[in-house]
């Protein structure tokens, strides 16, 4: 590696570490903030997530090579890790570390955007069902029952059949639209429990429209569980994306995603194990970080001994 990517890499690491310390200073003021930072694995999770996010955002600086470059398809393919190629090269002689950095844009981006879709749909449907009740609620909740009865990957396989080479935007939408079922149940339960509370009755008596009651009064109270399930969902979506891409139905080459990189390496597993190993390890680390952060957030919002 030359000087520029090494400096950028160290810079990304320092930035991630520093940002966590700043957050820790701010969080010290509140009880839930202190409880969150008491979870050491969650703090490491935030560091890892920030690092990969910064690296993905600054990919042209951090990546030592062009991720699509195939400098020596005959001489440089499947090179083991070395100083020039810290994670080795793949079957097309591309630098794996550079592809990992750029692949983070795709994998993290899909995880975040698909979760945004899933949460928007889930919150809307859950709130409408819990507030309207009656037949609207019955229909929506039966829909959720059906959605939960099919393993998500089957649903995605069915949907993916409509495209020959699936565009990224559609993939994000599909991942989001198959992931809102449990969230809507959660929000519905929350809306039901808040329904008869005095402050909600007061708002309605003052003439607030149902939309206003939902957005101004119900949602803020339900925010904590929604945030927790959103954070846990990002990791879950990233695993699904990796699985779909591994089967060849997700992100299409030559776009690098961490899942496609594991799939590309499968063919030369015995010959060049590093081609699959590092991308898969990155997925595991990042998903683990999301899960650790989600667990700690749940504990911070709602302290109970069993979550400690």
């Amino acid at each position: 590696m030359t000087a520029r990517p090494t400096v950028a890499l160290v810079g990304a690491l320092v930035l991630a570490m520093g940002a966590v310390e700043l957050l820790r200073l701010r969080a010290r003021r509140t009880g839930s903030g202190r409880r969150f930072f008491a979870h050491r694995s969650a703090v490491w999770g935030v560091r890892i997530l920030l690092f990969f996010t910064i690296a993905a955002l600054l990919a042209p600086l951090v990546a030592p090579y062009d991720p699509a470059a195939q400098p020596g398809i005959v001489t440089l393919q499947n090179m083991p890790p070395s100083w020039a190629h810290p994670f080795g090269t793949d079957a097309y002689s591309s630098d794996i570390w550079s592809r990992l950095v750029y692949g983070g844009r795709v994998s993290l981006g899909i995880g975040l955007l698909a979760t945004l879709v899933a949460m928007s749909v889930g919150v809307t449907i859950g709130a409408v069902a819990g507030y309207a009740l009656g037949w609207i609620d019955a229909i929506l909740m039966r829909l959720v029952d059906v959605g939960l009865a099919v393993p998500r990957i089957f649903m995605l396989l069915l949907a993916v059949a409509y495209w020959n080479r699936i565009p990224l935007s559609i993939l994000v939408l599909l991942l989001g639209l198959t992931g809102w079922f449990t969230t809507s149940r959660l929000v519905r339960a929350e809306a039901l429990s808040l329904r008869g509370r005095p402050f909600v009755d007061a708002a309605r008596a003052l003439g607030a429209s149902p939309t206003r009651v939902l957005i101004r009064h119900l949602l803020p109270s339900a925010l904590a569980p929604i945030i927790v399930s959103a954070v846990l969902s990002v990791g879950n979506v990233m695993l699904l994306e990796a699985g779909l891409s591994f089967l060849g139905f997700g992100v299409q080459p030559p776009t690098p995603s961490w899942g496609t990189m594991v799939a590309d390496g499968q063919a030369q597993l015995a010959l060049a194990p590093w081609t699959s190993f590092f991308p898969g390890l990155t997925i595991a680390l990042v998903v683990m970080s999301w899960n650790a952060v989600g667990d700690a957030l749940r504990d911070a919002f709602d302290p109970r001994p069993e979550h400690a």
Binding site: S41, R142, D145, V146, L148, A149, V150, P151, R152, I153, F154, L157, L158, A159, V160, A161, Y162, N164, G235, L239, A242, G243, F246, L247, G259, V262, G265, Q266, L269, A270, P273, S276, F277, G280, I283, A284, V287, M288, W290, N291, A292, R304, P305, E306, H307, A308
Partner: protein
């Protein structure tokens, strides 16, 4: 108890309705997808006139509601249709694939629950000690690992490198038929080890985290304090008093882990060239094999729904408080 009986009947009816909805939605979805079982993606070109004739011959050119009614009529007579991509009936295709998937998923579930339970007890007993901190991070890592990648790592270590286990297939091709009975059994176990371990480990990590939380919650209850006050040893408090009461959620967890096992089997069967339902689903969708896709969705959703139904019934049978409320 009459109330309990109607509760069960209503649950079964709801489960059947869900499976029916899944079948209908899958049927419509796969029929509307572009392509035809006679014209799979470009690698198998066929004359368009031939494709049109085949479509007409098998009724695939008729309106979808006509095909749907016909499908339901056949289904009511136990006829699942013909799997064009495999040249056999859907029934015989399922009959070869389901046992392989059940063998893999069943072994994985046993590993999942057994290993997860033991790990969960250790984690809860050593809560907030170094053992717990280290093992908790290890279980969180395994819980977060992509299952197919864990499969590849195990293949590299135990098949490619150490040569302890074969890298794929349920039996040794060519050799299996010539083995005596116990040789065949050994061969099967030998082949089952890596895929079942992969799926079981990921599942066990989740179960252990769940069991740890359930056990810790129980350990905070009044009757545990009473037992400790009586001078019962800590070992007995955990293994007898608390464990019994924390086992109930495990029933639900076992019922709910079916979707996880089915999802895992789609990917794991691909890694280990395992000819089960998961791999068949992928191939069938690619080949637009309408009847096979619909049948697989039916079997998968029936498994999931039955799993949660059985879990609910067992839970009610094990916990008198639930039984009271249901009836």
């Amino acid at each position: 108890m009459g109330g309990g009986g109607t509760w069960l009947i209503r649950r079964i009816a709801a489960a059947a309705a869900i499976v029916f909805a899944v079948v209908s939605l899958t049927f419509v979805s796969i029929h509307l997808a572009p392509g035809s079982p006679f014209l799979p993606p470009p690698d198998r070109p066929l004359d368009t006139a031939v494709v049109a004739r085949l479509n007409r011959q098998f009724g695939l050119d008729r309106p979808i509601r006509v095909q749907y009614v016909l499908y339901l009529k056949n289904l009511s007579q136990g006829n699942l249709g013909y799997a064009f991509s495999r040249g056999q009936t859907v029934r015989s295709a399922l009959a070869t694939a389901i046992p392989d998937t059940l063998l893999l998923a069943g072994t994985a579930l046993a590993l999942d629950l057994g290993l997860g339970l033991i790990l969960g007890i250790i984690l809860a007993a050593r809560a907030r000690h170094a053992t717990d901190l280290i093992l908790s991070n290890v279980t969180l890592f395994i819980y977060s690992v992509p299952a197919f990648w864990l499969g590849l790592v195990l293949v590299f270590v135990f098949a490619d490198w150490l040569h302890w286990f074969p890298a794929g297939f349920p039996t040794s091709p060519g050799l299996y038929e010539s083995l005596p009975f116990f040789g065949q059994l050994g061969d099967r176990i030998h082949h089952l080890a890596l895929p079942a371990l992969t799926l079981g480990l990921v599942g066990a990590a989740g179960t252990a985290r769940y069991q740890r939380a359930a056990l810790l919650e129980t350990l905070g209850r009044e009757f545990v304090r009473t037992a400790r006050a009586k001078g019962v040893s800590e070992r007995r408090v955990i293994l007898v008093h608390a464990l019994r009461n924390s086992l109930l959620p495990l029933i639900t967890l076992a019922g709910l882990s079916l979707p996880f096992l089915l999802t895992g089997s789609v990917l794991i069967e691909s890694v280990f060239s395992w000819p089960g339902m998961g791999r068949m689903a992928t191939d069938a969708v690619l080949a637009r094999d309408h009847a096979l896709v619909t049948a697989i969705a039916m079997v998968a959703s029936a498994m999931v729904v039955t799993g949660s139904l059985v879990a609910d019934v067992l839970y009610a049978a094990a916990d008198p408080r639930i039984r009271e409320r249901a009836s």
